[in-house]
């Protein structure tokens, strides 16, 4: 299955120059860059690299869109006030998995005011990457989000904002639908049968899969679509308060515990099953929509080598006695 088509155009050097100025004007620029420790992160860029070169960063765009510790409001002199306007950013050279993950965040945070403010201040430019041995791309998954995509001299508009930028740079009327030049699909996001999942509550599969789980939270922290959060108050000595949204994690013992102490999801097995359900089956209005983008971050980050895909395989084969 090919990657989906989007309005596309090959830009002349002067048009690229105009587009680059529009992307950079009044904005901080970021892109994936390897650090001295060999780990790739989204780092500040002095300018947009002339040649596209996507790489998968350690943390995806969620570190900009739902940053850990994001202020929700401040309380000063007995008044509540919303957060300051977010910085205007352009992030370039994101791989397709992260664009798919962005589409998911756009969906689940569609009505979230702090997210929307950050998203509206963000321009995202994707590019093809070289998949690693431990990740795969699935064109049948989520439709890539973001604004623009570039490969060689060709550009694609992924959003109305992106299309307006291309039209402004190259003039109207020249865009034509063209599939994104993504990598060959290296695999597919596991399909989980909801009925089989529903019948698996008592299956030893979950406790077995979670037998080595440290509940350290690394998998969800690096997952580009995991979005559990907790809210905590940050009180200062002068009496002012900032309420912050901090990254939470369904493996943590407090996640489903209510005041008084009852835990509605005790044990690592049930918590792993919860994360599995969220990832492959979706919650609430998004039931039936998988948010796994195949990026491989969770498996790579797990100190004890747990793989949700393997668990999905076991569930599909019908594990248990």
């Amino acid at each position: 299955m090919p990657w989906p088509a989007f309005p596309s155009i090959a830009l002349q050097p002067d048009e690229v120059g105009r587009l680059f100025s529009a992307l950079a004007s009044g904005r901080l620029m970021f892109g994936p860059r390897p650090g001295s420790d060999g780990s790739c992160r989204l780092q500040p860029l002095p300018e947009i690299p002339a040649h596209p070169g996507a790489a998968q960063p350690f943390l995806s765009l969620k570190k900009f869109l739902v940053p850990d510790g994001d202020p929700l409001w401040a309380w000063t002199s007995e008044r509540y006030a919303g957060p300051p306007p977010p910085p205007r950013l352009t992030v370039v050279d994101l791989p397709l998995c992260d664009l798919q993950a962005l589409a998911w965040l756009d969906l689940v945070f569609a009505e979230d005011p702090p997210y929307r403010a950050r998203r509206e201040a963000l321009l995202v430019v994707g590019a093809p990457c070289q998949p690693a041995a431990d990740c795969f791309c699935d064109p049948a998954g989520l439709l890539p989000g973001g604004d623009l995509f570039r490969a060689g001299t060709r550009w694609w508009a992924l959003s109305p904002v992106g299309e307006a930028l291309l039209v402004r740079a190259a003039g109207p009327g020249n865009l034509a639908g063209e599939p994104l030049p993504g990598p060959e699909p290296g695999g597919a996001v596991p399909t989980v049968d909801p009925a089989r999942f529903a019948g698996s509550a008592g299956d030893p599969l979950w406790d077995e899969a979670a037998a080595r789980c440290l509940a350290c939270g690394a998998c969800s922290a690096v997952c580009p679509t995991c979005m559990c959060y907790e809210v905590v108050d940050d009180p200062r000595l002068d009496g002012t308060v900032t309420r912050r949204r901090v990254w939470d994690n369904c493996f943590f013992p407090e996640h489903a515990r209510v005041a008084g102490g009852h835990d509605f999801r005790p044990g690592r097995g049930r918590r792993l099953r919860f994360r599995f359900e969220h990832k492959y089956l979706g919650f609430g209005p998004w039931r039936g929509l998988s948010s796994c983008v195949g990026c491989g971050r969770c498996r790579r980050a797990c100190p004890v080598g747990i793989s949700l895909e393997e668990v999905a395989g076991r569930l599909a084969r019908g594990a248990g006695p």
């Binding site: 309420r243 489903a256 359900e277 609430g284």
Partner: protein, 275 residues
């Protein structure tokens, strides 16, 4: 009331102690708002945190009234505050009880422990429309006699025949409840249910209590002949955002804070881990 995360300032205007760990807080939010029985709000103590709570009475004269148990870090801080303190309120969240489903029925309300709080809001809403509902029965169980909340009020309603009230306690040194003229059994709420007579075809049931109460009672109501779509329970979970994002309350794939917290039994049966 308001969108997003910004709370509306709300001042404590009255605090009424009910027992050592339960107090009735009346808050006056800065703007008018409404809250159906079973819906919930998030109350903020700036600098300490927030917690979800339902109201224990319909909103009247712009006042939000909640029965709050001292059960955690934030409610502990709330119990240190006095009348006049400025808090914050977000909401309302959730669906609440479908009051119109009770029209033309004999409401059967079953509460365990602090579960009386949202059911009292429902009870008051039903008492306000006597021409639309039939006989109201309230079964209410707590751990011990001292933990029975709103007992004078409930006893008064029972004495004037407005509700059929049955009480039970798990333990009691001695039952000195005669002074209110209400019988109280030592035992479980299940025993109360077996002792009351109701016409299942005319009954709409609403339950609120700890998980154990649902496990022992809710299917018993169905077995007694009440259609599962006329049996409602409100679920307690860790609620943080109230808007279907943070994932703490998800049960059976459902955001309880958005679609619930009140569900009919036929829905609950399809939600794994709900009861």
């Amino acid at each position: 009331m308001n969108a997003g995360f910004l709370p509306m300032p709300a001042r404590i205007v009255a605090i009424e102690p009910l027992d050592r760990d339960h107090r009735l807080f009346s808050l006056r939010p800065a703007q008018p708002f409404d809250l159906r029985p079973g819906q919930f709000v998030e109350i903020t103590i700036p600098g300490v945190g927030a917690f979800p709570v339902s109201a224990c009475a319909p909103v009247a004269a712009g006042l939000l009234t909640s029965c709050i148990r001292r059960a955690g870090r934030v409610t502990e801080a709330l119990f240190q505050l006095e009348s006049g303190a400025l808090l914050g309120v977000r909401g309302p969240f959730g669906n609440g009880f479908p009051v119109e489903t009770f029209y033309g029925s004999d409401p059967l309300l079953i509460a365990g422990g602090l579960g009386i709080a949202p059911l009292r809001a429902l009870l008051h809403a039903l008492l306000a429309i006597p021409e639309r509902v039939g006989r109201i029965t309230l079964l209410y169980g707590t751990r011990e006699p001292g933990a029975l909340l709103f007992r004078e009020e409930l006893a008064g309603l029972a004495a004037t025949g407005r509700i059929d009230l049955r009480l039970s306690v798990d333990f009691a040194e001695e039952l000195s409840l005669e002074e209110w003229g209400v019988a109280c059994e030592v035992g479980l709420v299940n025993d109360l249910l077996r002792a009351v007579t109701f016409d299942p075809a005319r009954t709409v049931a609403a339950l609120c209590g700890p998980p154990g109460l649902y496990r022992c009672l809710i299917e018993e109501l169905a077995r007694a002949g009440i259609p599962p779509q006329r049996i409602f329970a409100t679920l307690e979970r860790r609620m943080r955002c109230g808007i279907g994002e943070c994932c703490h309350c998800v049960t059976g794939g459902v955001f309880l804070c958005r679609e619930g917290p009140v569900f009919s039994l036929d829905r609950l049966r399809s939600m794994e881990g709900a009861i």
